[in-house]
């Protein structure tokens, strides 16, 4: 069994999760505040990857990233970057595909905090940013962990989008889930089983760690 697909999967999941932590939390905060028609539409668009068949999402991303499309051409001309059949392309596709897994739990947790928490902080002269980092974020820690793990695990197991955007280039885009498919396709069931067991073990350990970490938070911060 080659370890490269496993490392590629872990690398892809880690990078995607870090990017989504950086962009997903501010988006979740924005969505958790006063509702408007624009926000409802934005949330619906951001939730689409959750309900769309991965192959549909992958197909449209493939079209968008292709050098023949305006976006693909612009990326190639100005940044010398091709997102089709490249690891960078997998990262961008994974960020889009896993976006709702980061945003949804965080948004829901923020929306369920009593409004008086932020109000109390504002009346104490604290800015929205200080209130967010000192009061709101620490009180949704368990949801934040859940979102992080869901995003990581979801990226680790993604298949359809990865196959459409990246294909199965050895050492570049052939992640573990593709390697399993490839092994089965070539009647190498033993190899497929080894990859599957490793993926199963990794995700199981991650989920156990989250349960251990969240065991004290299971009562909720306000109980």
């Amino acid at each position: 069994m080659e370890w490269t697909p496993i490392w590629l999967s872990l690398k892809l999941a880690a990078i995607t999760t870090l990017i989504l932590l950086a962009i997903g939390i501010p988006i979740a905060y924005w969505l958790s505040r006063k509702s408007s028609l624009f926000k409802i539409i934005a949330e619906a668009i951001l939730t689409m990857p959750l309900v769309l068949p991965p192959s549909v999402l992958g197909f449209y991303l493939l079209l968008s990233f292709s050098p023949n499309s305006p976006v693909g051409r612009w990326l190639l001309e100005y940044f010398n970057l091709s997102l089709v059949f490249s690891f960078e392309g997998l990262v961008v596709a994974s960020v889009i595909y896993s976006l709702p897994f980061m945003i949804s739990p965080v948004k829901s947790a923020l929306a369920h905090l009593p409004p008086s928490l932020a109000e109390a902080s504002y009346t104490m002269g604290k800015s929205r940013l200080t209130t967010f980092y000192r009061v709101l974020l620490p009180n949704i820690k368990s949801s934040l962990w859940t979102a992080t793990v869901l995003t990581f695990a979801h990226t680790l197991g993604e298949f359809g989008v990865v196959l459409m955007i990246g294909g199965k280039l050895e050492g570049i885009t052939k992640v573990a889930s593709i390697a399993i498919y490839d092994a089965v396709d070539n009647n190498q069931y033993n190899e497929a089983n080894q990859y599957s067991l490793v993926l199963f073990a990794i995700t199981f350990v991650i989920v156990i760690l989250v349960f251990i970490f969240n065991r004290n938070a299971s009562r909720g911060p306000l109980e």
């Binding site: 109000e119 109390a120 902080s121 504002y122 009346t123 104490m124 002269g125 800015s127 009061v135 009180n139």
Partner: protein, 207 residues
Amino acid sequence: MITVKIDKKIKTYKGNSRLIVNAVFPVGTVTKVYGPSGAGKTTFLKIIAGLVTPEEGMIKAGEEFWLDTTTKINWKPQQRKVGFVFQDFALFPNMTVVEHLRYATDDEVLISRLLQIGQMATFSSHRPRFLSGGQQQRLAILRALALKPALLLMDEAFSALDDELRESLITEIKILLIEFGTTTIIVSHHAQETATFADRELKIDLE
């Protein structure tokens, strides 16, 4: 002197009503605000704090206009910086008792004094979930006082305290309010709760 003139639409179970208040609060006074449930007492406090904006109104604290809908002045809650004791306490679950006070002020002498007054020194490293209802309410009051506010707004702030503790706390708080020159507005349902605390009254009802 705090001058308040507000007109705000409020939805009640009877339909739409209006909260109309015209009142003056002299510096250093403690005013009890009372009225039927759902009359908008909490909304009134939130309007003064800048957390809710009325359709029409003017709030003047000293020489400064915090709100004037005709000239579109509307200071943020951060600028008004009132002390606010919320009905649900609004304590931060992630912070200990002393961290709550340090979030409000870096004056360690004042923090020690407040912990003493609220009889909370023993619990200074406890988080809210490990405090009783009465202790949580005391912490909410101490946190508001830690700001040395020019205006203190209290929403049912003594409801979880027994008579003896409430009266001893009121005596200590009054000393602080005089020292800080704080004007206080307290919403309360129970006459006994504020009998020794408030020196003025204001009735609020919907129109």
